[in-house]
């Protein structure tokens, strides 16, 4: 029973959930629950990766034993496995970083409060992400989306300053209205096709009005939660003002969750609409996001705002290839590999960037760019982390970002989308401008830094560097990721009419 991967799927979700409940029940031991929960979850995820790599075919777990149409199926294919792996890796880094960041300094009740409530909320978020990546049912995805949204908003509002609370409120309202639009889309699909399972829906879906309505609603709902260009206004204040580990979580994982659903729904259920205007529109909005986000990032004077706007820009890359991906649909895995590697490289690099920005804020007390002058002497590891993460964000070789852009550009040019190439390479140069602006402050030798720099605990200085190095090492994973994604690919093919 234990060797069978289907046994492990529910545990990937239940372990962090139980850890979260435990962390809430016993506030004084909340970190102990979180620590054990993190390790066990990561172990289960890595274990199931090994099992999946061994079996090389999609793992299914029919919850409740009833099977797809009536019951809910948990589905683990290459794509969801990679996302789970990414979440586990970043999760380990966040848990270790948050231990130092939230440790109650002067024993104030406020810092104890933050410390006690961070752990259950973070574990809930992790459980929600794992449930989201494993679910094969549309309504179940709605519930996981809400679970994800609530924990993300509560984590953002952990820092109880007015600006943060307003940002959290705006985030909550956008998140909720996005989810409700998604739900209305699901209702239309259920009305039209009578099933909620994505794979079955893919088999019966044909180009009917309710499919188009559902596609529009689901896409707008999820795009609001992924903060693609016109709906990005809530992201920078929320990601910049939140606590450092929280903004790393939001930028690296939470926005990717809703994008994953968009990818999954479009690839499988809405494939008859592959050539309609919606994918083209998404690609156009992606281009606008890259240009707008990069321009805004170049104007920022606060470090975390700069990194937040960089997220808005980098999210645009994920949408560029959607029309090509849907047209190729499973037979050509390169666009999907490009998107997934980019998504992972951005997650790792952006988490590293936010954590090192957090370190700077923790040590220097303010994150204005001008206050970062000459920090190389005092915080070499943090600045190395930011530099290496910057290399991946600009997508300079050797980095995961580069390989992703290489795959994307190849696909784009093969289909003759030469303007995508200009946007992608231009975006890279613009990213270089705002990353190098930060680095030039860091390399500047200020004569005797004015305020003394608070020493960083070890558990805070190493995670960002580790994540940044991982973002670089992704350059060698091109073949691995492609082989892993192929595991899910037949699932895409077998459903094609």
């Amino acid at each position: 029973m234990v060797a069978d991967i289907a046994f492990w799927l529910p545990l990937i979700i239940l372990v962090p959930l139980l850890a979260a409940i435990g962390a809430f029940l016993f506030p004084r031991h909340s970190f102990r629950f979180a620590f054990i929960g993190t390790l066990v979850t990561a172990a289960v995820v890595f274990g199931s990766t090994g099992l999946l790599w061994q079996d090389k075919e999609v793992a299914r777990h029919a919850v409740g034993g009833w099977g797809a149409p009536l019951g809910i199926d948990m589905v683990l294919d290459g794509l969801s496995m990679l996302m789970l792996l990414l979440t586990a890796v970043i999760g380990l880094a966040i848990t270790s970083y948050a231990r130092g960041y939230f440790l109650p300094k002067n024993n104030s009740s406020e810092s104890w409060h933050q410390y006690n409530y961070f752990w259950p909320l973070w574990l809930f978020l992790w459980a929600a992400l794992n449930a989201l990546f494993l679910s094969g049912d549309l309504f179940n995805l709605y519930v996981t989306l809400e679970l994800l949204g609530f924990s993300a908003v509560a984590l953002t509002a952990l820092v109880r300053k007015p600006a943060v609370l307003k940002a959290a409120m705006r985030y909550l309202l956008v998140s909720l209205s996005g989810s409700l639009m998604y739900l209305l889309g699901v209702v239309f699909l259920y009305a039209g096709y009578g099933t909620l399972d994505i794979a079955l829906l893919g088999a019966v879906a044909t180009n009917t009005p309710e499919l188009v309505a559902a596609a529009a609603l689901i896409t707008v709902g999820l795009v609001m939660k992924t903060a693609l260009f016109p709906f990005h206004f809530w992201l920078p204040p929320a990601h910049a003002n939140a606590a450092a580990p929280v903004s790393a979580l939001l930028s690296a994982l939470v926005v990717k969750g809703s994008f994953y659903i968009l990818l999954r729904v479009w690839l499988v259920a809405l494939h008859p609409l592959a050539d309609t205007f919606i994918p083209q529109l998404l690609s156009g909005l992606g281009m606008a996001a890259i240009i707008w986000g990069s321009l805004q990032a170049m104007r920022q004077t606060q470090l975390k705002m700069l990194v937040a706007y960089s997220t808005v820009a980098q999210l645009g890359y994920l949408f560029l290839l959607i029309p090509l991906l849907l047209r190729g649909r499973g037979d050509d895995i390169a666009p999907l590999a490009g998107i997934v590697i980019f998504l992972s490289a951005h997650a790792l690099a952006k988490a590293a960037a936010f954590l090192s920005a957090g370190n700077l804020l923790y040590a220097v007390g303010e994150d204005r760019l001008s206050s970062l002058d000459g920090l190389t002497r005092k915080m070499p590891l943090t600045l190395a982390a930011f530099g290496v993460a910057g290399v991946s964000l600009i997508a300079l070789p050797p980095s995961g970002g580069f390989i992703a852009k290489w795959l994307m550009l190849n696909v784009a040019l093969e289909h003759g989308y030469w303007w995508l190439m200009i946007v992608v390479i231009g975006g890279g140069l613009m990213a270089a401008v705002y990353i190098m602006r930060v680095m030039s402050h860091l390399f500047l030798e200020a004569r005797g830094h004015k305020s003394d720099v608070k020493p960083l605990p070890l558990c805070m200085s190493w995670p960002p560097f580790g994540l940044a190095v991982l973002a670089i090492l992704l350059v060698f994973t091109g073949v691995l990721v492609t082989d892993m994604l192929v595991i899910g690919a037949p699932w895409l093919l077998e459903v094609a009419p």
């Binding site: 409940i21 029940l25 409740g64 409530y117 179940n140 679970l147 099933t195």
Partner: protein, 220 residues
């Protein structure tokens, strides 16, 4: 009615017209999951098809949903440090007397609704809602004078529902079944256990949602 609002109104009216048109087109008598669900109700251990869907066929949704309830409380307590329970004594005795009469009745109604759920419309959430209503009345009528030790019980009471659900789920998993696949014989008892724990937790959660934070000690 500024220009901005007019534009938004226009857009939304268009959206509503299009969606309404499409939903009207969808023929009502399409063969959806109804027949399949109703056909499987006998094996689900309960007679009421809605409870069968809610707790057996799509039990996983309900597990996550109870988790959402639990998360709401954790989220609110993380935002609002302490909530001052509203203890202004209401001036009209009518409310206090009426509430004193009503509370026990509501508890009975909740219990009945919960027990009925297996075979007739009702169930944990309906019972929990009534309990929640009772809690709100209890607080609103300033009769909330829990003993100090009660506050230590709050967290276990809140997590009762989700804990029951996850332990039953793990139980079925480790007994070799799929997650939440109740063995046919014990299906009804397991569902009753889950629903029982859920009723109490939902009642407590809804009351505390109304209070809006960890209730402070009673100092007049």
């Amino acid at each position: 009615m500024t220009a901005g609002r007019g534009f938004v109104l226009l857009l939304i009216v268009l959206l509503v017209l299009v969606l309404a048109g499409i939903i009207a087109l969808v023929t009502p008598d399409k063969a959806r999951l109804a027949d399949l669900a109703i056909a499987n109700v006998p094996q689900s251990g309960v007679l009421n098809p809605v409870t069968a869907v809610l707790l057996n066929f799509r039990g996983y949704d309900t597990l996550l949903e109870v988790a959402v309830l639990f998360l709401a409380i954790v989220g609110i307590w993380s935002m609002a440090r302490h909530a001052r329970v509203w203890i202004k004594i209401p001036d009209t005795p009518v409310l206090v007397v009426f509430v004193r009469l009503l509370l026990p009745l509501m508890v009975i109604a909740a219990g009945y609704l919960f027990w009925l759920g297996a075979d007739f419309p009702g169930g944990a959430f309906q019972g929990g809602a009534v309990l929640g209503g009772m809690g709100v009345l209890w607080v609103a009528a300033a009769l909330w004078q829990p003993p100090a030790s009660f506050r230590r019980l709050l967290r276990p009471l809140l997590s009762l529902g989700i804990l029951a659900f996850t332990t039953v789920a793990l139980l079925t998993l480790f007994m070799g079944y799929n997650l939440l696949q109740y063995p046919p014989a014990q299906a009804k008892t397991l569902i009753i256990i889950i629903e029982g724990a859920a009723v109490l937790s939902i009642g407590a959660t809804l009351t505390l949602l109304f209070i809006g934070g960890f209730p402070k000690k009673r100092e007049d």
